[in-house]
């Protein structure tokens, strides 16, 4: 960079801080070379005309005693040096500078008795249009909504993990409750016995309250009978006993039917339920043949 060094004072070169340390340590450069050496070499011949600048400053400055209201400028002291690359710290520094500035300005305005902030009912043209602010608002709301949804999803995941445990706990609870209820009933019975209340039905044995219905069926015992019509799709009559499976995975229809009839009417079925004199049996003399047919193979008889 061939700079025109018109006014150059050698002693005015300012030793400034190094931005980058020692990565490019080369020899001194002329002003004519375009190298990175400029970074590490602050005391090269950069023009620094302090007097000239001061003169210009005097030229353009506004009058000294000008009221602060004209300039509205404030100088804020930065507490600590901020690292440029740390975005958050840098922005915080700017923010605190602005905050401090407004505070001081507010104090000054207070003493001068001038209004400072915009009152809420003052409507005028703003620097950003209303449509733009709408967009900003909708974006903010969308962000908020996303965050909330993410939170909910996370919570659902967590709760799912816990749900198994919760279920197990609940079951335990129920079992203990049932136990405790049964215990309570037993206790109550004992109490009655102790108190000498006679059992109903005239029996001296007060241990068991006799609830005999004369049916041969014990109370509170699981009945062996299948209840007819226990469920619409249950063709086994409620018990679902499959006597023999021939290995095909499907029980034989006849056996299922037999099982059902057995469970309903006992083995062999009711004597009276069999049809005896029908059109087919009139001409049927199988029972009256001597040795015809299968020769005693009774299994063949069933057709």
């Amino acid at each position: 960079m061939g700079t025109p060094k018109v006014e150059f004072d050698a002693e005015d070169v300012e030793p400034m801080e190094d931005e980058v340390d020692g990565e490019f340590t080369d020899s001194d450069s002329d002003s004519g070379e375009e190298d990175i050496q400029k970074l590490t070499n602050p005391s090269k011949d950069a023009v620094y005309n302090r007097d000239g600048m001061n003169d210009k400053l005097q030229e353009i400055s506004w009058p000294e005693n000008l009221g602060w209201l004209h300039k509205l400028s404030l100088d804020i002291n930065q507490e600590q040096d901020v690292d440029v690359n740390d975005d958050l710290a840098r922005e915080m520094a700017f923010y605190t500078q602005a905050l401090e500035g407004t505070r001081r300005a507010f104090e000054k305005f207070e003493t001068m008795g001038l209004p400072f902030l915009r009152p809420p009912d003052y409507y005028a043209e703003m620097v950003k249009s209303d449509t733009h602010m709408q967009k900003v608002k909708s974006r903010l709301l969308a962000e908020k909504r996303n965050m909330e949804e993410a939170e909910e999803r996370r919570k659902a995941r967590e709760s799912k993990k816990l749900s198994k445990e919760v279920q197990a706990q609940k079951q335990k609870e129920r079992a203990t409750q049932k136990k405790s209820e049964i215990e309570a009933v037993k206790k109550w019975r004992k109490q009655r016995q102790q108190n000498g209340f006679p059992a109903p039905g005239g029996k001296k044995n007060g241990d068991e309250i006799d609830l005999d219905f004369g049916d041969g069926v014990k109370p509170f015992a699981k009945s062996n009978k299948q209840r007819p019509g226990v469920s619409p799709g249950d063709r086994s009559g409620g018990k679902g006993r499959m006597k023999s499976w021939k290995g095909t995975g499907k029980p034989d229809k006849k056996i299922v039917k037999r099982d059902r009839k057995d469970s309903k009417f006992g083995y062999g079925g009711r004597k009276g339920m069999k049809k005896q004199n029908t059109a087919d049996t009139t001409d049927d003399f199988r029972g009256f043949r001597k040795t015809g047919g299968d020769g005693g193979n009774k299994k063949r008889r069933k057709q």
Binding site: L39, M53, L57, I60, A98, T102, A105, E125, R139
Partner: protein
């Protein structure tokens, strides 16, 4: 005096006038008695620049001309438009042809529009933005390289303020540390500060400009003051200025300052092609 007055009227008027003038006493100041007439005579004679007493008749008549070069990128054009909306005392002008004796041409144009300073956004190679800040008749001018540009249209900058309200300018303390920073501070104050009773200015002060020097760059932020003591939101735009050179004249002239740490973007792309 087109109409000739009657003799009686003038006679009546004169004694009244005398009565008005007579009771006025000479003003007393610390230095002694100062006659009002003497003060009145002295004031216009005093120049704006060598003031000693309170400048009662100073008016900030700053007008900024804002232009850009041709082939400017959209982002930088929006930045320029944002700046135009922030400064009610500016005048936006058409794009200028770049190169070819631009210093002289620009100065002339500024004079033509009767502005006292200029912000010229120059975009090179469609990706580097240089900002010239110049005080126009004879004042110094600065050339900056602009980085980290965020315009007001970004949805993350959620603040808003009155268009044309006067900003509070805050400078970090290190602006007073050195001559070139002082000069820059004065220029920024004059250019970015909205004049006091400007026609288009609005009354309240609801935003703050932050100019702070970090790492030898001037960082600019614009915050909206929501309520005091706590709440500031960014309005934007935001950018970072890297001073390259300060010239004694407007858009040219003797170099007063050269930034030793400045590397031009061309050099950067040569040495760091990735």
């Amino acid at each position: 005096m087109a109409k000739k007055r009657k003799h009686s009227e003038t006679v009546v008027a004169a004694p009244q006038k005398k009565e008005e003038v007579a009771p006025e006493r000479p003003k007393r100041t610390l230095l002694g008695w100062k006659d009002k007439e003497a003060a009145a005579v002295a004031a216009p004679a005093e120049d704006k620049d060598d003031e000693v007493h309170q400048p009662t008749n100073f008016r900030n008549k700053e007008k900024v001309l804002v232009t850009c070069s041709r082939r400017i990128a959209y982002r930088y054009r929006h930045l320029m438009l944002n700046v135009v909306s922030l400064l009610p005392h500016c005048k936006k002008d058409n794009k200028v042809e770049s190169q070819s004796s631009k210093g002289v041409a620009l100065s002339e144009m500024v004079e033509l529009k009767s502005c006292s300073s200029c912000l010229f956004f120059e975009c090179r190679k469609h990706k580097d933005l240089y900002l010239w800040m110049a005080k126009c008749p004879s004042g110094p001018s600065v050339k900056f390289l602009v980085n980290a540009v965020h315009t007001m249209e970004e949805l993350k900058l959620t603040g808003n303020h009155l268009k044309g309200s006067r900003p509070l300018l805050t400078f970090s303390a290190n602006f007073d540390k050195d001559a070139h920073w002082k000069l820059l501070k004065e220029m920024i104050t004059q250019i970015f500060g909205v004049p006091k009773e400007h026609r288009k200015s609005k009354p309240y002060h609801d935003h703050v400009f932050v100019f702070s020097i970090v790492d030898d760059h001037i960082w600019f932020r614009n915050y909206q003051v929501l309520n005091l003591l706590r709440d500031l939101t960014q309005v934007g735009p935001r950018f970072c200025l890297n001073p390259i050179k300060i010239f004694g004249g407007s858009f040219g002239g003797p170099t007063l300052y050269e930034n030793p740490f400045y590397i031009s973007p061309n050099q950067v792309s040569v040495h760091f092609p990735w």
